[in-house]
């Protein structure tokens, strides 16, 4: 464990050396990974590291530094380095720490750390990965190969202190089990994956369930083809819908909003989505991946409704972007070890609807069910959306055949106004979550 007091010492040293304000982050992490492939162990990785970051203010000038050397000489260099580089920056009238009244930390157990994963030894961890891969390889004779399976575990601690009297720390743990089988039939070869990710080992899904699901996902892609270019309804499964919610995050990130680099800039209070759309950011839900007691500026986290029944109600802000917009921080400051804070999300999700995914699909005469999106063709400045896709073609309410090597395109503005259906299947598999959702019409480009 890190000595939290070190963070306060770094802050004090920076003030002694002439900084008018300072914030220090300490981070420590241990990672473990066991990888297997074709039923035998392939890689084992086990290591840990630490680091310290410092951000200082000289009046309205800002400088930052980091180091992996936490010795007293390393800390002295850390402080000198931040002060040296602050001297060459420009005065920024909006720079500064949060107001002391904004600082604080959620109380109560947020269930971010569990040591149950430490109670299973390396050989058991390897065994879990072997079982997950075996379940995939045994699922069907067409599963002929594998990219392997892995069991990963992480535990770490984060400490934050600033010169306005904040000192806080929290520990996190997580573990995950995943496998990526390869299916083959004739000339067609496809891979897909499935995984489970949890803060406690006890919440991890069974290796057999993960392997079977991964195999199903790879198998259903076999023999995929292109379809002619056309406009149809598009259903996003939970994983791909999640990426759409991440795109919306970029557009409500205070940093892009104050620069007018977002299609949602200047739209607060306006209708930006259909009435069934409510998007919430909540970092206070115990045990989830986007949960923390305070943000990376020492401000308590909270629940923020971003879009309320189609109306844009809040951006996500840190202290700086709040000041730029004449608003207050929403407790969404994020940063690595050092530097000016950016904006991050906590648990960001689309509220669930009424219908099951099966019901949604049954209601579609002709359309696309998307299970994979590739590429980075989303422009949150203009809203232009164009991504590579793979999935299942829907005919008369049923999956007809797999499709790939196609793109789907529209604009985020039109898509948000056209959430034709939202599923009831909300699940948190990461810090962004969405139920299945259907967009009324998009351009599918193929042949």
């Amino acid at each position: 464990m890190i000595d939290a007091e070190l963070a306060s010492q770094v802050v004090r040293l920076a003030l002694d050396r002439g900084a008018s304000d300072a914030e220090c982050t300490l981070s420590e992490g241990e990672e473990f990974s066991a990888g297997v492939r074709m039923r035998s162990l392939e890689t084992l990785k086990d290591a840990g590291s630490r680091g310290a970051g410092l951000r200082v203010l000289l009046g309205q000038q800002v400088g930052s530094s980091y180091t992996s050397d936490l010795s007293s000489e390393g800390i002295r260099k850390l402080v000198d380095s931040a002060l040296e580089i602050a001297a060459i920056s420009t005065e920024d009238p909006h720079a500064g720490l949060p107001d002391p009244s904004e600082l604080g930390s959620l109380s109560g157990d947020l269930q971010l750390y569990s040591d149950d994963v430490n109670r299973i030894d390396t050989s058991q961890r390897i065994e879990l990965a072997l079982q997950a891969e075996d379940a995939a390889l045994s699922a069907d004779p067409r599963i002929t190969n594998s990219e392997g399976a892995s069991f990963d575990a992480y535990s770490g601690e984060r400490v934050f202190a600033n010169s306005r009297g904040f000192l806080g720390s929290y520990r996190v743990s997580s573990c995950s089990l995943s496998t990526t089988p390869v299916a083959r039939e004739g000339e067609s070869m496809e891979r897909d994956y499935w995984y489970s990710y949890a803060r406690n080992y006890s919440k991890l899904e069974s290796p057999a369930a993960i392997g079977r699901k991964a195999a199903q996902r790879a198998l259903r892609r076999l023999g995929s083809r292109k379809v002619p270019t056309q406009k149809v309804p598009v259903v996003f499964d939970q994983l791909t819908a999640r990426s759409l919610i991440s795109n919306i995050f970029e557009a409500v990130d205070g940093d892009s909003v104050y620069r007018k680099a977002s299609f949602l800039a200047d739209k607060l209070g306006e209708r930006v989505a259909s009435e069934n759309v409510t998007i919430i950011d909540d970092s206070t839900i115990p045990g989830l991946f986007g949960t923390s007691p305070f943000d990376d500026e020492g401000v308590p986290t909270r629940r923020t409704v971003v879009i309320d029944r189609g109306i844009l109600t809040s951006y996500l802000l840190n202290t700086y972007t709040g000041r730029k917009l004449g608003l207050r921080t929403t407790g969404n400051a994020a940063r690595g070890l050092t530097g000016n804070a950016s904006v991050g999300h906590g648990n960001l999700f689309l509220e669930k609807g009424e219908r099951s995914p099966e019901e949604i699909i049954r209601g579609i005469r002709k359309g696309l069910y998307v299970t994979e999106l590739i590429g980075s063709g989303v422009n949150t400045v203009t809203g232009d959306y164009s991504r590579g896709a793979a999935g299942q073609w829907i005919e008369n309410g049923e999956f007809a055949y797999p499709v790939s090597e196609i793109t789907i395109a529209s604009t985020l503005q039109q898509m948000l106004m056209d959430f034709a259906a939202i599923g009831s299947d909300l699940e948190f598999r990461g810090s962004v979550a969405s139920p299945t959702l259907m967009i009324g019409e998009m351009t599918v480009s193929g042949q």
């Binding site: 035998s40 392939e42 890689t43 084992l44 990785k45 086990d46 290591a47 590291s49 680091g51 970051g53 800002v62 400088g63 930052s64 530094s65 980091y66 180091t67 992996s68 260099k77 380095s81 580089i85 060459i88 920056s89 420009t90 005065e91 920024d92 720079a95 390396t122 190969n145 990219e147 070869m189 496809e190 891979r191 995929s224 270019t229 620069r259 007018k260 680099a261 299609f263 050092t338 530097g339 000016n340 994979e372 590739i374 590429g375 980075s376 063709g377 400045v381 203009t382 232009d384 164009s386 991504r387 590579g388 790939s404 090597e405 196609i406 793109t407 395109a409 529209s410 351009t443 480009s445």
Partner: protein, 477 residues
């Protein structure tokens, strides 16, 4: 250079005896091979935003990674503390992968033969901070001066100096000092009440600061970024469907990186999970296409004197006149496939296990005049610039996103179109290349390649090429 004169010898007093004892510890439970990767990385970065130098960061990280290979198995551990007891502990953890009697190697070390591809006396981060601040200020002024419709400018400059020492149980010892510098300029332009449009340009490489003062000035990147944003103000919706696509020279070489490069990395082919597995000697592209991966080009972003496993980099032919010739190897893959090294073992840092990765990947020039290529195209899309790309190496499907493209109508480049994703299939796409220009150009030096969570700098390049058939993912039918 002797170890005692090297960075790690001088600064940390590391001796050959130390290295030998760590490697012995690594093979204490058996195993076929072990290596040590010492890394000391110093970075600095600056950015200007709203004409204010808002962010400036400098820092150092240090550590050593220990790897043990036993057959197909790899054990890995690292330490951010270079004290002998911590390194030995990491070596013992990595050794857990092997099960057998200890192997004691006592062969001594021989220094790897090495090029000097970035002979820089003074790395950028060894110069004064004010000189570097001046670069971003100049970029900010130039972008704003380009056109009154430019209303946001963010310019950044980042550099790093990485000191590396690799020692392995084959007796190889190698040192390298790897500088890197890069500038980026991003702008937003707006016309009336229309939607803002982005522009982006940047460049750099393993260069000294004078690269930005003499060869490629901040003004050049700023004007290019501003030009792209202004062009987009008049863009019409991109077309949808299959059509002829002409790629301009330079950065559009990302096509090669996604369509073939990743699929030729030997780890995927050893496991036979790539769409290119078992296809050496087969026609995978039109006979006009020869694709090279070359880690030895002076001062380039993707170049290295030695790869991150201590092997000298090389110029490797991947596709020759359309025929698949070779894969890209790291140490593990070349051991298992009994193939020679290609110098493509790379890693993000001491915390990461090396993998086969690309360096600078490009297509050789052909005979066609770039103007003729456009004139020969009655209807199609001309792509001048791209954002990122991605590939599914198993199905071979890849995408790349055009950020600056134009309609080709009656053999002429006409209206700019909005951003669109292009999609194709790796082993098929290059078969439709019907013309290759005589204007090979390498990119400006901004490429970052991600694979299995590890990012490394890379380069790409391509002459103007015509692809007769590719799917364009716009909205306009």
């Amino acid at each position: 250079m002797a170890l005692s004169e090297s960075f790690f010898g001088q600064k940390f007093g590391i001796t050959e005896h130390d290295l030998q004892s760590y490697l012995n510890e690594a093979l204490s439970a058996g195993g076929d091979y072990a290596d040590l990767y010492f890394e000391y990385l110093a970075t600095s970065s600056l950015s200007i935003d709203e004409s204010i130098v808002k962010s400036a960061v400098q820092g150092v990280s240090l550590g050593v990674g220990v790897r043990v290979i036993a057959g197909e198995r790899t054990g890995y551990a690292y330490s951010d503390d270079l004290s002998p007891e911590k390194i030995r502990r990491a070596a013992r953890v990595a050794a857990c992968i092997a099960k057998g009697p200890a192997k004691v190697d006592k062969t001594g070390f021989e220094e790897a033969n090495k090029r000097d591809l970035y002979p820089i006396l003074q790395a950028p981060n060894e110069t004064s901070l004010t000189e570097r601040v001046d670069l971003v200020k100049r970029a900010d002024r130039a972008a704003r001066a380009y056109d009154s419709r430019i209303f946001q400018v963010q310019a950044s400059y980042a550099d790093s100096l990485r000191q590396v020492l690799v020692a392995n149980t084959d007796g190889v010892l190698s040192f390298d000092r790897q500088p890197m510098a890069r500038m980026n300029v991003g702008v937003l332009a707006r016309q009336g009440n229309g939607s803002p449009q982005r522009g982006f340009a940047g460049g750099g490489g393993r260069v000294a600061l004078d690269f930005f003062q003499n060869e490629h000035s901040p003004e050049e990147f700023a004007r290019e970024s501003a030009r792209q944003a202004i062009v987009q103000l008049d863009a019409v919706p991109a077309p949808a469907g299959e059509m002829t696509v002409v790629l301009g020279p330079g950065w559009p070489g990302i096509l090669l990186h996604e369509a073939v490069g990743h699929g030729l990395e030997a780890d995927f082919n050893r496991k036979k999970v790539s769409a290119f597995s078992d296809r050496i000697g087969q026609q995978v592209a039109s006979p006009l296409c020869t694709v090279i991966d070359d880690g030895t080009i002076r001062n380039r972003r993707g170049s290295l004197n030695v790869d991150d496993e201590g092997a000298p980099t090389q110029k490797n032919i991947l596709i020759e006149k359309g025929v698949l010739r070779g894969y890209l190897f790291d140490k593990l893959s070349s051991r298992l496939l009994r193939s020679g090294a290609t110098g493509n073992g790379r890693r993000e840092s001491y915390q990461h296990i090396p993998m086969p990765r690309m360096t600078n990947t490009f297509m050789l020039a052909g005979d066609s005049d770039p103007g003729d290529i456009v004139r020969s195209t009655p209807r199609g899309l001309y792509c001048a610039n791209f954002g990122g790309g991605q590939v599914d190496i198993t199905s071979g499907n890849f995408v790349f996103s055009a950020s600056e493209s134009y309609l080709i109508e009656d053999g002429r480049i006409t209206r700019p179109v909005r951003g669109a994703t292009l999609i194709g299939n790796g082993p098929e796409a290059l078969k439709y290349v019907s013309m290759v220009g005589n204007d090979l150009k390498l990119d400006e030096g901004v490429g970052i390649c991600g694979k299995e969570g590890q990012s490394v700098p890379v380069g790409v390049g391509i002459p103007t090429i015509k692809v007769d058939r590719m799917t364009v993912g716009g909205t306009s039918g």
